[in-house]
């Protein structure tokens, strides 16, 4: 069963919106577009979307008020806020208004795509699994233990959280920024490849003594954990 994700982009820059819509469609996502706050609010209320991508500064009704209004109507579609105001406090106000994720402009499309896919997935399945499985790798969230082929792999607490986040979003690309935000809970620019080093350490622990690679680097985007056999099957 493959249902295609359907999203709504509320963005007043027609050119940017057209580029986004085209890129999303190429990635297999159905995409609608509204160019001001009022029509965006109307479309988001009348139709069912998996994710809303909302620009903060919009004509006729600003992005934050669109979100507040939707939440007031009991519509809890995940919202990703796009903003040219990429500062810490703007992020806080955005998330406080009911947004689920926040991406400052300019951004890489891969970053936006990865975040939208994670948000869209989140809507369907509430996060209640106690054990995550990818191929022969098993992560028990209660006992904080990781096993592969039944063999226990000792991990540092942070490595555990890193793997937990990757496995929670198994089969999806997660970017370096997403990892820093969700695993370390910081939103700053670490300047260097700190995340890569952490991931490669984790990778060596979960793959060193095993044949099948699970944790893959997605070029120009980030990382993805996936069992290739189930994917091809």
């Amino acid at each position: 069963m493959v249902t295609r994700m359907k999203i709504l982009i509320i963005e007043d820059d027609i050119e940017a919106a057209a580029y986004l819509a085209k890129a999303f469609r190429e990635a297999g996502i159905v995409c609608d577009h509204a160019s001001d706050g009022e029509s965006g609010l109307f479309m988001a209320s009348e139709n069912s979307y998996d994710v809303l991508v909302v620009d903060r500064m919009l004509p006729r009704r600003d992005g934050l008020s669109v979100i507040t209004e939707l939440r007031g109507k009991g519509i809890h579609t995940p919202v990703l806020i796009l903003s040219a105001l990429g500062q810490v406090d703007d992020r806080v106000t955005g998330l406080r208004a009911g947004g689920d994720d926040y991406l400052p402009k300019p951004y890489a499309f891969n970053e936006l795509l990865a975040r939208v896919e994670v948000l869209g997935r989140r809507k369907g399945a509430p996060d209640q699994d106690m054990v995550y499985r990818v191929g022969d790798l098993e992560l028990d969230r209660l006992s904080h233990s990781v096993r592969r082929q039944g063999k226990e792999i000792p991990l540092q607490p942070r490595e555990f959280r890193l793997l937990e986040y990757l496995m929670k979003n198994a089969g999806q690309v997660v970017t370096r920024t997403m990892l820093l935000e969700n695993v370390w809970d910081y939103h700053f620019d670490p300047q260097t490849n700190v995340i890569d080093v952490h991931v490669s350490r984790l990778r060596s622990k979960i793959e060193k003594d095993f044949d099948l690679p699970l944790l893959r680097t997605v070029r120009g985007a980030g990382y993805m954990i996936k069992d290739d056999r189930t994917a091809s099957a």
Partner: protein
């Protein structure tokens, strides 16, 4: 607007006018009170004198009869400055005395006259001279009436004199006050004029101008001083802005040119090699975006807009997080990251910005200490002299003493470091963050005795004393 009008609109003059009115009311009350009191006192004296005389006259009458009385009165009336004496018959006709006429009916009642009355005295000069007096009337058993009175001219003259003296004194005081207030008001006006002149110049664009101070430390000086401090800050911000735009022009041209060259080269290529070139171009623009973001962040932090998001943060936790985050990177290049963190250091701050600042320092240390004298990078957090000090010490080549102020400025990179990746904005951001936290950024050598390539750099982030 007339000069007087301007003067009256100054607060000093307005207040003075109010005081003048209040003062005048008080003074008027004083004048009436003092003259009233002295008049009463003098009247009392008059009564006492008259009463004494009446007693004497009664005694004379009892001792020497009517003839003795008449003689006595005659003698008394002739004395210079004599009191008033009247002897009248039962029907009120004046029989003898030194008074020409009296208000009619005055002699009908025994005792004190109720009010001062008018009378005329026998004098050589003029009969029309009317005087005012207070008198006591005595009824004798044979029907004769005797009036003993005392002229009130002197007390009244005295009262008028006192009143006049007070009025003159008040007038002089009021005039003096007016002159002094005028002088003060003018002085204040002049100083304010000088201040507005200076601010006009400043508005015209000369931000180096300062408001004049007289050095007396009064209100005007304090106002000028705080305005000058404000101007200093504005000038610094303005200078920073100018510096940024200058540097943007200089330092962003290079990567933009590189970007353009790469795009041109990619156009010339064909097939799969084009993809690689495009990826390079994206990498190059990402670096540019990163530079812009850092610039934006610095100016936002400097403008203080992030200060709103300050809260109690556990600095110890941030330091542990960052050390944990960077530790593997350091290890990968053969460095050792060691932390000596005192627990529970709580400061008022912005977690993300402090994290970013420390991240910048760690990134610098890892970048520049590679291959240094000692692979140890030490991060320490503790209290020193009541302040919370976070230090990152490396053993790399360090920064020469005369360059330490320089490297904090935007886009400044030492020649030796140009080969390393970076925006030249890392320390600028750290400084801005420290300023926002009312702290300080200090650079020192880790090992001042070390050789040319091993002095190392220790960066101290000094936060003001924490709340706990």
């Amino acid at each position: 607007m007339s000069k007087l009008g301007v003067l009256f609109r100054t607060t000093a003059v307005r207040l003075s006018a109010l005081y003048l009115i209040l003062f005048s009311l008080c003074a008027a009350f004083l004048v009436f009170y003092v003259t009233g009191m002295s008049e009463r006192l003098l009247q009392q004296q008059t009564r006492d004198a008259v009463t004494a005389e009446v007693t004497q006259i009664e005694q004379v009458y009892t001792r020497a009869g009517i003839n003795g009385l008449l003689r006595s009165l005659e003698r008394r009336a002739r004395q210079p400055g004599a009191n008033l004496y009247v002897i009248a018959g039962p029907s009120g006709e004046i029989l003898a005395g030194n008074v020409a006429s009296l208000e009619p009916g005055l002699l009908d009642r025994e005792g004190w006259t109720e009010k001062p009355f008018a009378y005329q005295r026998y004098t050589d000069e003029s009969r029309k001279d009317s005087h005012v007096a207070l008198a006591h009337v005595l009824m004798l058993d044979n029907g004769l009436r005797i009036l003993v009175g005392r002229d009130l001219q002197e007390p009244q003259k005295f009262r008028a004199l006192v009143r006049q003296a007070l009025m003159v004194a008040l007038g002089i005081m009021g005039l003096g006050a007016l002159i002094i207030w005028f002088a003060i008001g003018r002085n204040a006006l002049k100083r304010i004029d000088r201040m507005s002149e200076a601010s006009t110049k400043i508005m015209a664009g000369d931000l180096s101008q300062r408001l004049p101070t007289s050095g007396s430390g009064d209100e005007f000086d304090r106002l000028s001083e705080s305005l000058n401090a404000m101007l200093g800050r504005i000038e610094k911000l303005n200078e920073g802005l100018r510096q940024v735009s200058d540097n943007i022009a200089h330092d962003l041209k290079t990567p933009l040119t590189r970007l353009r060259n790469k795009a041109e080269a990619a156009l010339a290529r064909k097939g799969t090699s084009q993809r690689g070139a495009l990826e390079e171009i994206i990498g190059e623009s990402d670096q540019l975006i990163r530079t812009f973001n850092a610039l934006l962040m610095i100016s936002r932090v400097e403008a203080g807009s992030a200060a709103a998001e300050m809260s109690e943060v556990d600095l110890s936790q941030i330091v542990s997080d960052c050390v944990e985050l960077y530790e593997p990177v350091a290890e990968d290049v053969g460095l050792r990251l060691e932390a000596d963190v005192a627990p529970g250091m709580v400061i008022s701050g912005n977690r993300e910005l402090v994290g970013q600042a420390l991240g910048n320092l760690l990134d610098n240390a890892i970048k520049y200490a590679e291959g240094g004298a000692d692979p140890l990078i030490k991060v320490s957090l503790g209290r020193r002299d009541g302040k919370v000090v976070l230090s990152v010490a490396d053993h790399g080549p360090g920064v020469p003493e005369d360059k330490r102020e320089e490297v904090v400025k935007r886009f400044v990179r030492l020649d030796e470091s140009r080969s390393k990746p970076g925006t030249g904005l890392g320390l600028s951001l750290v400084e801005a963050v420290m300023e926002m936290h009312h702290g300080a950024l200090n650079l020192a050598a880790t090992d001042p005795e070390g050789g040319d390539n091993g002095k190392g750099l220790t960066v101290h982030m000094v936060f003001p004393a924490s709340a706990t």
